[in-house]
Amino acid sequence: MYSYSEFDEAFVRARVAQFSQQVERRLDGSLTEEEFRPLRLMNGLYLQLHAYMLRVAIPYGTINPRQMRQLAHIAQTWDKGYGHFTTRQNIQFNWPKLEDVPAILQALADVGMHAIQTSGNCVRNVTADHFAGAAADEIEDPRPVAELLRQWSTDHPEFQFLPRKFKIAITGSPNDRAVTRAHDIGLRMVRNAAGEPGFEVMVGGGLGRTPMIAHTVRDFLPKADLLPYVEAVLSVYNTLGRRDNKYKARIKITVHETGKPEITRMIEERFAELRPLFGGNDQKLLAEIEEAFAPPAFRVAPTDAYDAFYKADPAFRAWADTNLHDHKASGYAIVTISLKAHGETPGDATADQMREIAALAEEYGHSELRISHEQNVILPHVHKSDLPALHARLAKAGLATANVGLISDIIACPGMDYCALATARSIPIAQEIATRFDALDLEHEIGPLKIKISGCINACGHHHVGHIGILGLDRAGVENYQITLGGDGTETATIGEKTGPGFAYDEIVPAVERLVRAYLSVRTSQEETFLQTYRRTGIDPFKAALYDGEDSKDAA
């Protein structure tokens, strides 16, 4: 697996030393909070509702067992024994003390991790398909390119003070598991007519208060041109982006206001200037990175044990049906470890669970791990013959919930339980929905269904692209929840449609149940998913279920 160079390590340690001094100066009064705030944010440290929060980067969601153990150590030593994996493939610690943060950053640096550019108006943590390097449908592993982008963007002098934050997502597969169309730049690997790999480049997507699906500005960009092209996009945005109004500062607004033809022309013009300046150095570096991302030595072994277990054990079969995905290597599977046990906080893992996951990755998974934007952990390379033993270990650790892609596999932002920006809570809604449908024993009957919950209009919970999206708002001093339907974060990305007035806190879970029961009553067969049914019928049967003849209250 790729590990940081000496340059990277020296850079990260220098930043830790610098920030440690800044913390000392804040604590002794040499720095005011106004002076200190931008410095702490540059190092991923926020002040939230109840405490500080440290956001640690997990570039493209890739992490190794040693790093996972260090996260467990941090959770246990300086936090409250758990960490929260986010929709940006990062991890957040919710309770660090300011004076402990330098030690935490030092501990992260010891394993090649950091919190740089997890905040601020810069290029944020580059995200990628969580099945990268393993997916059966993959053209190429997107992580080398993501790492190239990480190195290029880290402390890039031109792009440290952009109009707003900037998010890049990348997938190496035609099937989009990285929500690329909802990012400032989305990159989707494709092949041209000659079979050469390159990228479809999408610009100007984003959720938040003005949700937009990205425009494709290049159907095919040769792989070798990627870095100068991305730099051209950033360069144009840095020039045109609105700095007068933070709500209009994202590139999606720039694209909308400038128009796709003109912004495409400007990007191409800037690209023509930049391309010769790269001189091939980026490709030399990329080749080195690609070497470091070489796949593990997959073994060839029979899968009879898996087949027999699958037939004999219903619990294992249910888990295998939902939590396994097709691997590119024969005899292997991709395992998603659900961090969505019914009633638990989506995305949270205890220190003990993190240690067990690290051990399992070493024993059964070629020492590789990924964090998904859906707040789960992936073991990308597990031989099928190891799956029964792996499942038993997961079950013992409370990590064998068979619900990936189902109604309780909910994305939920921290909401007003933690976040200073939130306008309502997300976590208890997710907990109650999961508990309710578990009690109803309907989850597997319902099939694939993505519920995504945000506690404010910034949409960290991706509610706009949830099949059922829930947005928590403050309506006259009361928590109120708006529902959107039909959202989709894949290659057929769609922004969900608002159903109507919102629901009070104690009404939202019954409203979701009515929606699901409406789906079950109008689907043509068990094979027709919620999203397919919604696209066939439109919103009317669902609106009727929500608002007609029930005791739903318009709390808006």
């Binding site: 804040r26 604590l27 009064g29 005011t32 909070e33 002040l47 939230q48 509702l49 109840h50 405490a51 500080y52 409250k80 919710n94 309770w95 003390k97 300011l98 004076e99 906080t345 007003m416 339980d417 933690y418 809570r425 976590i427 208890p428 907990q431 403050d474 001093g477 009361v478 928590e479």
Partner: protein, 100 residues
């Protein structure tokens, strides 16, 4: 006609730990909302906020939050402030643990 002033408490986060705290009438920072000074006068509220903002080695992000009188002292008016008095709803962490 001027708007009726809603009584306030001064709240902030502790600089070192981040804990939610409230300014008391005797100039302490308390973890307990009901120990806060309930300020009924707008000018006095602004003066107390200035006092809080000057406590730069102890607290950060001081502001005035709406409150009302209760049987045991001030009570929050808005649900956000109510959450701040007790901590998150998914774990007994923060204040919920500290105040046991």
């Amino acid at each position: 006609m001027s708007r009726r002033f809603i009584p306030k408490v001064v709240t902030a986060n502790r600089l070192r730990e981040g804990d939610v705290v409230y300014l008391t009438a005797d100039d302490r920072w308390s973890l307990l909302h009901h120990e806060a000074e309930l300020i009924e006068d707008e000018a006095q509220a602004n003066l107390r906020l200035l006092f809080a903002a000057a406590q730069k080695l102890y607290v950060v992000g001081a502001y005035l939050a709406d409150a009302k009188a209760g049987p045991n002292g001030p009570e929050p008016v808005h649900f956000r402030e109510a959450f701040r008095t007790r901590g998150p709803s998914n774990y007994a962490h923060g204040k919920q643990a500290d105040l046991v």
